[in-house]
């Protein structure tokens, strides 16, 4: 099921949570909404589900305007951050709930409901726990019950709010891989919310990076990591260093020195962003960035050094090979290999 969010704005008591957000989700895609807290990602997810209604704009499921439909009619599977299982029902009753509350005309027989529920429990690898109550399950198991319950209604799309947020790191990794497998098998159009970039990059077909109620960038994990299109995305995803530079005649200047990088921005002040590990050391030649080492740490396979840049006492980090003899107070000259310049406004 294609989902199209078009020009949606949402205010809570005049406080804007989303500004003019548009997004197209293709059928069968696994999409991550990634952003820091307060970026509006959960609000967007709830708007798609119909748990909130937009102040302006529309949500389309296929060609049909879902904004006109209630939550119940939209037929979406929603997995809540804290699972929201019905604690007075057994696992199998939780899973079958969505089928049991259907109107008589479309409700399967109780045998059929039972059969389909246990099939789903099988699918999420929980067979044998049918008679348990949610209080008797571990966090990871509850998560799976919640997912099975959402899938039982044969949803048109599957929405997950911070699906791994409440789990410990190990279970989280397992479930991450498992969710990907489930998605590949069922081909449900799936949208999940996360603030964990590793989760988004590893799991999603496309990542929607959000900040302050706006979509900053939409792209494949490679695109958002390798070609961030804004200072926010650059600093939010992966590590980044930024330097205060000046553009003059298509060249970047740091204080009174050319860096040796070109830009087609108009003259003026700008930020230079690059990945700390993506730099090449150069001889202290004419056009490069030079700095004095103020601190040096061993991080995994590389050495991370903190540099003080001559001109303006600014400190940045770069990653260099572990065997580099970087001593404190020694000088290092380098040039970023991939970078982007954003005008300072």
């Amino acid at each position: 099921m294609d989902v199209r969010v078009s020009g949606v704005r949402k205010e809570f008591d005049r406080f804007p949570a989303l500004h003019d957000v548009s997004l197209e989700i293709n059928s069968g895609e696994l999409i991550a909404l990634l952003g820091p807290s307060g970026s509006g990602k959960t609000t967007l997810l709830r708007l798609i589900a119909g748990l909130e209604s937009p102040t302006e704009g529309k949500v389309f499921f296929g060609d049909e305007d879902a904004s006109l439909k209630s939550v119940q009619e939209r037929n979406v599977g929603f997995v809540f951050q804290h699972y929201a299982l019905f604690r007075h029902m057994t696992v199998i009753d939780n899973v079958g709930f969505g089928l049991k509350v259907r109107p008589n005309s479309s409700r399967p027989s109780s045998d059929e409901i039972r059969r389909r529920s246990s099939e789903l429990l099988d699918f999420v690898q929980l067979s044998g726990l049918e008679k348990r109550y949610p209080a008797q399950l571990s966090g990871g198991q509850r998560q799976r019950v919640a997912l099975a319950r959402a899938m039982a209604i044969e949803p048109r799309i599957l929405l997950l709010d911070e699906p791994f947020g409440a789990l410990d790191a190990k279970v989280r990794k397992e479930l991450r891989r498992w969710l990907r497998e489930i998605h590949d098998k069922t081909k449900h159009t799936t949208v999940f919310v996360t603030h964990d970039q590793d989760e988004a990059l590893e799991l999603a077909d496309r990542v929607v990076v959000m900040s302050q109620g706006r979509i900053e960038q939409i792209g494949t994990p490679d695109e958002v990591y390798d070609k961030p299109n804004s200072p926010f995305v650059y600093s939010f995803i992966g590590e980044s260093s930024k330097i205060d530079v000046r553009v003059e005649n298509g060249e970047l200047w740091l204080a009174d020195r050319r860096i040796g990088l070109k830009s087609d921005l108009p003259d003026g002040n700008a930020w230079l962003y690059f990945r700390p590990h993506d730099v090449a050391l150069v001889k202290d030649s004419d056009a490069c960035i030079t700095g004095t080492v103020v601190a040096s740490r061993r991080v995994g396979a590389t050495r991370r050094v903190e540099l003080e840049l001559g001109g303006n006492a600014e400190r940045i980090e770069i990653g260099i090979s572990a065997d580099h003899p970087a001593k404190e107070m020694s000088g290092i000259a380098f040039r970023p290999q991939h970078w982007r310049v954003f005008p300072r406004s």
């Binding site: 939550v71 119940q72 007075h88 709930f97 509350v101 959402a150």
Partner: protein, 286 residues
């Protein structure tokens, strides 16, 4: 897993970092014995002096039987009505924010504080033939004051806060997410309430019911004014006990009291069993 839990439940709890297990347990036992157990044992002891035939004679006396029927019957009806209205009141107080909510919240506690005799007199004057409400019910052929209906109304009054105050905190704990989950699964408002919310509240509702019922069975002050106290019709068991005492028939009084004690204990015990069972299933308080 369940059997493990049950087994562990019978063992003494290990002392925690906070000392004083012996002290507090000793205090609890001494306190319960002085305030509850010794008087109740005296009651049973005294009625036992009647012998079985004497006891049975009093127990099977039509006046006693009727008084017990009226006491437990009206208490049961009042507790059931309180469950319905108490849950609605709790719902309104928990779910909505409106001017005067705090005042209503405070009013709910009034039956706890008000001398019950005052409530009984006030209700009687309201529901009597010429009272504010009674005058409208009279032409419809409904007599409230001096009938079991009047008793029930008095008992509803004293029992209401028990239901509200036990259900309210549990209701506050229900996450909005649970309702939203039901909605995304296709449940309408009615199904969400009957299949998700109320079953979740069931243990609290049951506790509120038990408390309101127990309170109503023992209620005396408010009832005697509105009941009219006609033997066989609107005479409650606590009143009959007082009547027997005034006749210096102490054994008769204790016999009726012992029967009430037995019935109340049996009902509360059953309710507690249901509670424990549902607690184990749903994992409340674990």
């Amino acid at each position: 897993m369940i059997s493990n839990l049950a087994k562990a439940g019978w063992r003494f709890k290990r002392p925690s970092v906070i000392p004083g297990f012996g002290l507090t347990l000793g205090f609890t036992l001494a306190y319960l014995a002085l305030i509850v157990l010794i008087p109740l044992t005296g009651l049973v002891w005294r009625s036992a002096s009647l012998g079985f035939t004497g006891f049975w004679q009093i127990a099977s006396d039509p006046r006693t039987v009727n008084a017990l029927k009226i006491s437990f019957g009206t208490a049961l009806v009042a507790a059931l009505i309180n469950v319905v209205f108490g849950v609605i009141v709790a719902w309104v107080l928990v779910r909505y924010r409106f001017p005067g909510r705090r005042i209503i919240d405070a009013i709910v506690d009034l039956p706890f504080a008000l001398p019950t005799a005052v409530a009984g007199i006030a209700l009687t004057s309201l529901y009597a033939k010429n009272g504010w409400i009674g005058q409208f019910l009279e032409p419809l052929g409904i007599k409230v004051a001096f009938t079991p209906i009047g008793i029930t109304i008095a008992l509803i009054f004293v029992g209401l806060p028990f239901v509200v105050r036990t259900v309210q905190p549990v209701m506050e704990e229900i996450r909005k997410e649970v309702e939203e989950a039901a909605a995304t699964l296709g449940a309408n408002r009615f199904q969400t309430i009957t299949r998700v919310l109320l079953p979740g509240l069931q243990p609290a509702i049951l506790t509120g019911f038990a408390l309101a019922f127990a309170r109503a069975v023992g209620e005396y002050g408010s009832v005697i004014f509105i009941a009219g106290n006609l033997p066989y019709v609107s005479e409650i068991a606590p009143l009959l006990i007082v009547i027997r005492l005034e006749e210096f028939d102490y054994a008769g009084a204790t016999a009726i009291a012992a029967i009430m004690l037995l019935l109340s204990f049996a009902m509360l015990f059953i309710i507690n069993l249901i509670q424990a069972w549902s607690r184990r299933r749903y994992g409340y308080g674990t």
